[in-house]
Symmetry: C2
């Protein structure tokens, strides 16, 4: 089942719709919201078919009770640390890195990213899952069974605010503003490329209409989603509607730091990583962070070139 949430004035949880396989039309859902579905409400199509337009969508969960974002593509972490001359502890290959992210209000797939370019606005292309309830101490197998939906995420990051905030030692608050999700949340049973733990497929990212990232999400994901969920649930239960992010999708290419798409590589799923590679190869970054007017697009296609989760398409606007 493919679900989306349409924005509706005065309804913070929007209006839930079931989207047709061709993503061209949708029908209202019997459940009032995606959270209601996660809380156990039955969901079936009711009422008249309407034209489906991603521009009308909020995030599938416009607000959620929890967003925990992992760094499952350890290659990304290692690269970023290398650029600042820091070594990465070996434990990062066995103990997942994860942060508690803001979840009180997400951006819809076509809503603007509003910020001050001085903050160093960046996108991060990720895969995300939504869970049902997970008990404290759940096993990896139980965690796998709790995965209800899969989405794409643009985890917006404010690069110039991150060093100062992380130096304080308590993680991200100001440096991780509202992130955005794909129009569609898709159940694993109909997902091409879902293997129960990872999403196999190419995460396509264009910046201003030019290919920026073509990473394979099923490769180099050191920790799969069930492992990330079990990590999060070690000391506490997770409520239905918990979103778990993969962290920036990132591939090693031939053991090296990869190449931009323009040079025949798979590119990168965030600007920071491309800047890191530029720094490693050329002594300094060349690509600037986002400025007002820039356009970021993210999507994933199935074997026949059809968009699986719909398309994230966001313009950057000055505050």
């Amino acid at each position: 089942m493919k679900l989306a949430t349409l924005r509706q004035d005065g309804a913070p949880d929007g209006r839930l719709v079931i989207v047709a396989d061709d993503l061209l039309s949708a029908r209202p859902a019997s459940a009032p919201s995606l959270q209601a579905v996660l809380d156990g409400a039955p969901v079936e199509a009711v009422g008249e078919e309407v034209v489906f337009d991603a521009a009308d969508c909020s995030a599938p969960l416009p607000r959620a009770y929890q967003f925990l974002d992992g760094s499952a593509y350890v290659n990304h972490v290692e690269l970023v640390r290398k650029a600042r001359g820091a070594t990465m502890p070996d434990s990062f290959w066995t103990d997942p890195l994860m942060y508690q992210g803001g979840s009180d209000g997400f951006l819809g797939p076509c809503q603007a990213i509003v910020g001050d370019p001085e903050w160093g606005i960046d996108f991060e292309g990720e895969i995300a899952v939504i869970t049902g309830p997970v008990r404290m101490g759940a096993s990896v197998t139980e965690a796998a069974d709790a995965i209800r939906f899969v989405m794409l995420c643009n985890d917006v990051s404010l690069r110039n605010l991150i060093p100062g905030e992380l130096a304080k030692g308590f993680g991200f608050v100001q440096s991780k503003p509202a992130c955005a999700f794909s129009p569609l949340a898709v159940t694993p049973d109909i997902l091409p490329g879902w293997d129960g733990g990872r999403m196999h497929g190419r995460l396509c990212i264009d910046l201003n209409g030019i290919p920026f990232g073509r990473a394979e999400a099923g490769e180099d994901m050191t920790f799969d989603f069930p492992t990330l969920i079990a990590h999060a649930a070690k000391t506490r239960a997770l409520a239905a509607g918990t979103i778990i992010g993969s962290g920036t999708v990132s591939n090693k290419e031939a053991g090296g730091p990869g190449r931009p798409v323009s040079e025949g590589g798979r590119g990168y799923s965030c600007i920071a990583e491309q800047r890191v590679v530029e720094t490693l190869l050329h002594g300094g970054p060349k690509t600037r962070f986002l400025h007002p007017g820039d356009q970021v697009e993210m999507w994933m296609e199935d074997g026949e070139g059809r968009t699986i989760f719909g398309r994230i398409s966001q313009k950057v606007e000055a505050i």
Copy 2:
């Protein structure tokens, strides 16, 4: 107005009631939940009066879209750092420390703290507010206007997991499990001791029936709630229902680290702080963290000895 949420099977947001001034009875509220009130639903008493018992309560918001916990009592931060031989940056006196906490499921005021004593289970007595919507970039004045309710919080912390997790650099996940809130959320207009930014009153904490903390919450709070809220809203809007915590309430006494209640001092609002002071004075900690069977109580009284927010009363249970 004094609101509480009664636990109800199959209703994750519980049942909202309006509590009488004497805290002995309550009447059902017209709004279905506290979140609905924060989203704009009118709230008035409807239906029959019932006996009010804190043991029937969940947290006022059983699950919330956001919990941001500050460290507004900088004395606490300075003491904890001093104990491990670290100096605190001067900027901590002007730039609030804050972390994104889990908010997907809170403990009710009388629900057990379940955990492994090897984790170093500790309580932290805090004041917390619930906000209405706050726009990105809100001023401190706007932030003050957004405060809707005040509560007490027991921010449960797993001390033995904190150093390893913070060393990874991304803040707390496993080391901050579900925290608990007082039975009552009280509107500022009827709160004795509320000055618009801080809650004046003695935060009473007993451990196993023995006074442990008697800190004055209105003193030594370096950053008031409007300042914490404006800090959180610098780069993003905050949704209605955002909970902002004060961090562990902590007083300086005569410029020194204070004394236990048993020695005539104001004591401490968490075990860690008492252990820090023991370490500074005697070279090592004497007080152990929580074990199964321990009982933690927190409350605050008005000038006539009446409990303002009801009483947090939690037993510790082994996982």
